[in-house]
């Protein structure tokens, strides 16, 4: 129990967020949306980490979350740079158009 809320709800929230993220990555074609969905998945994991950290009265999980957020920020900066380059090359950010390696 965290502040009177069962851990189950945290897990459920995290799972829902993660699933939304995963489906978003799979289903959408807009690269920026895919990016946002990846962030969503990362944050779903973050919620879970923080929730269990509080439950077990152990700060390690929360420390870990900071790392995840830092790495996510770095990843976004690199990813957005790549996206910019893609846009310059094909005037679009539709992932389905990126199939040059197929043939």
């Amino acid at each position: 129990m965290i502040n009177g809320i069962s851990i189950d709800y945290f897990i459920l929230l995290s799972a829902v967020l993660f699933t939304i993220g995963a489906i978003g990555v799979m289903a959408r074609r807009n690269s920026i949306i895919i990016f946002m969905c990846i962030e969503l998945m990362l944050n779903a994991v973050n919620i879970l980490l923080v929730a269990f950290s509080t439950l077990h009265q152990n700060a390690e999980g929360q420390v870990f979350v900071f790392f995840v957020m830092t790495v996510a920020a770095a990843e976004v900066s690199v990813g957005l740079a790549i996206l910019t380059m893609i846009y310059r090359n094909i005037k679009s950010i539709d992932t389905n158009l990126l199939s040059n390696l197929k043939d």
Partner: protein, 626 residues
């Protein structure tokens, strides 16, 4: 002493390495000095070793340098064994080898491969010394293979000529067959007597008769037939004349081909114990002596005549070995080395004068133009024909006397062979040097005596051919048979001539009379009647044709060995290679291609699709973790 022996063996190797690696940068005179100098020094050291050996205990010096092969019961040292037998051999190898090296300087002077030639020749001397000095059968085998290699390299020395390469390969393959016998013999020897070192095998009572003795002797003898060109493996030697003539003199007349005799004498304890093996050796030797002598009578290539003569003389030595007359055979090895090296070098001088021509049908009357060569060759021819008091007479007579005592049938073979020897050698001499010149006026002007660097070795060898007989003057004329006594401590079971003096005189008389009659016959035929070898094969009678074609032995081998192997090869190629192996390979590749074509379809290039596949895969993997 250890260092002297090491020096004898390693100096030629050093010369070979220097000439082989740096020969292109050195001047020809430097190459020649290094090559001949190393052999000359080796010869000097051999003389020192020979003198020191006389005062050694039992006249045996055994030096182990290090343990070479140690495996279970097998314990082979790397070391040298100097005794009466090997001391004589090293003197002949380095002495005659030195003269031939000097001669080669003149003979090979115009050749592009000058340094390569001397490098090979020095390497040959190194391996030959290893062969005779090694103190176990394994070391002997190292030398045995090494001289085979050098023989191959030197027969195919002019490698741009395809026929010469074929001759080199033929020599190598024929020797390989013999070597198989040698290896098997060695293995059986080790199993039976527990050691391959002379030191162990020479102990009294080390070798006794067992059921394997005959097999060992025969297997080793197979090795000897390969190296020493005896029936059935003799056909490589006449073809080996493709190499430069001094090579024929050194390798294919004086030294390497007598390695088989060395090996049999070294194993004399085994051969003396097995009567069957001795008889086989004797029969093979006798038949080879006669067989090759018959072929030699109708050859027209000066080097081929000498090659068949060598085969025949080697046969005679094996005939002696068969009669267990080991020291007589070694005696003949030495005198033969003198006069046969001289004959080959003389032939080289003739070929040099003739501008490369080897056909005696195109020669004649050369005695006026090249008198030194003529005189020295005349001496060698008389020596090989067995006319006293030249060296060949004494050694041949000693062998024949022992063979007479052993088996009269074999003795008859030997006598006929030596009569034929006198005939074909004088045929060669008359056709080459007597009569009128048949090579055309253009070539006649070209004729010239060889430079002194070539003729001086001829003269030295001529002197040795005359006086070589002093080594083993028969006891019959009141002399002491020096070589017979000298080799006493090597030969474990001795054979003494038990013939009465009158019979010995008679045998000697028969041999000399036969030789003189043959020479007279040759004189009648080729000088008085002026018979010339026919240019056209069609003029030959049927029996001459058979001899002219060397009894069709090459063709026979071709038919019974090469053709079946060729046929088998074709069958294997058609069936196994083309159908089985190619089929397996092709089907593997087509399966891969088919699978690839199929799997390729999964890759549709859609990122979302890949991610979905990834996600599903992760879920599947995670669900499997318990």
């Amino acid at each position: 002493m250890a260092y002297i022996l090491l020096g004898i063996v390693l100096l030629p190797l050093l010369g070979s390495i220097i000439n082989g690696l740096l020969g292109k940068k050195l001047s020809k005179s430097n190459v020649a000095t290094i090559a001949s100098g190393s052999i000359g020094l080796s010869f000097v050291l051999s003389i020192i070793a020979f003198i020191q050996l006389q005062s050694a205990e039992n006249r045996v010096i055994n030096v182990d340098y290090y343990k070479w092969v140690v495996s279970g019961m097998l314990d082979v040292p790397m070391g040298f064994w100097l005794d009466s037998l090997s001391s004589l051999y090293i003197l002949v190898i380095t002495g005659v080898g030195f003269l031939i090296h000097v001669y080669s300087i003149g003979y090979m002077h115009e050749d592009d491969g000058f340094s390569r030639y001397f490098s090979y020749l020095n390497l040959f001397v190194f391996f030959m010394l290893m062969l005779v000095l090694g103190n176990s059968y394994v070391t002997m085998f190292v030398g045995w293979e090494g001289v085979g290699l050098c023989s191959y390299l030197l027969i195919g020395f002019w490698f741009k000529n395809h026929a010469y390469n074929d001759a080199a390969k033929k020599a190598f393959i024929m020797n390989r067959i013999g070597d198989l016998g040698f290896i098997l013999g060695m293995a059986l020897l080790f199993i039976t007597y527990g050691s391959l070192n002379y030191a162990d095998l020479n102990k009294p009572g080390a070798i006794t008769y067992t059921s394997a003795t005959t097999a060992i002797a025969l297997l080793l003898f197979l090795g000897a037939t390969g190296k020493s060109a005896q029936i059935p493996l003799y056909t490589w030697l006449p073809d080996a004349m493709a190499g430069p003539t001094p090579v024929s003199a050194l390798i294919h007349a004086a030294t390497m081909v007598t390695a088989g005799i060395y090996m049999v004498v070294r194993s004399n304890a085994i051969y003396s114990l097995s009567e069957t093996a001795s008889l086989v050796v004797g029969i093979v030797g006798g038949v080879t002596a006669l067989w090759a002598a018959i072929i030699a009578t109708l050859q027209f290539d000066i080097k081929k005549i000498l090659a068949y003569s060598t085969v025949s003389q080697l046969g005679l030595m094996f005939l002696g070995l068969g009669a267990n007359a080991y020291s007589s055979s070694v005696f003949h090895v030495i005198t033969h080395a003198f006069f046969k090296a001289l004959l080959f070098l003389g032939a080289g001088s003739v070929i040099h004068a003739m501008g490369g021509e080897q056909d005696i049908r195109k020669m004649g009357g050369l005695s006026k133009k090249i008198p030194t060569t003529y005189l020295t060759m005349l001496i060698a021819t008389i020596a090989i024909s067995g006319i006293p008091p030249f060296s060949g007479f004494f050694s041949k007579d000693e062998i024949l006397a022992h063979v007479y005592e052993y088996n009269k049938g074999l003795w008859a073979l030997g006598v006929i062979a030596s009569m034929l020897t006198a005939f074909y050698m004088f045929r060669m001499l008359f056709l080459t040097f007597w009569g009128y010149f048949r090579g055309g006026s253009e070539l006649y002007k070209h004729l010239h005596e060889s430079p002194s660097v070539m003729t001086i070795p001829l003269m030295i060898l001529a002197v040795l051919s005359v006086i070589g007989g002093l080594l083993g003057l028969p006891e019959l004329i009141g002399a002491k048979n020096w070589i017979g006594h000298y080799l006493d401590n090597v030969i474990l079971i001795k054979t003494y001539l038990g013939l009465s003096h009158s019979i010995e005189w008679m045998l000697m008389g028969i041999a000399v009379a036969g030789a003189v009659a043959s020479i007279y016959f040759a004189y009648q035929l080729f000088v008085i009647n002026g018979v010339l070898p026919v240019e056209d094969e069609a003029e030959l009678k049927w029996w001459q044709k058979i001899i002219y074609h060397k009894f069709y032995v090459d063709e026979l081998y071709d038919f019974i060995i090469r053709r079946p192997i060729d046929f088998l090869g074709k069958v294997v190629d058609r069936f196994f290679e083309k159908m089985v192996f190619n089929g397996i390979n092709d089907s593997i590749s087509s399966i891969t291609l088919f699978l690839g074509e199929w799997i390729r379809k999964i890759h549709i290039g859609n990122i979302a699709y890949y991610i979905m596949a990834m996600t599903i895969s992760i879920i599947v993997i995670l669900s499997m973790i318990k």
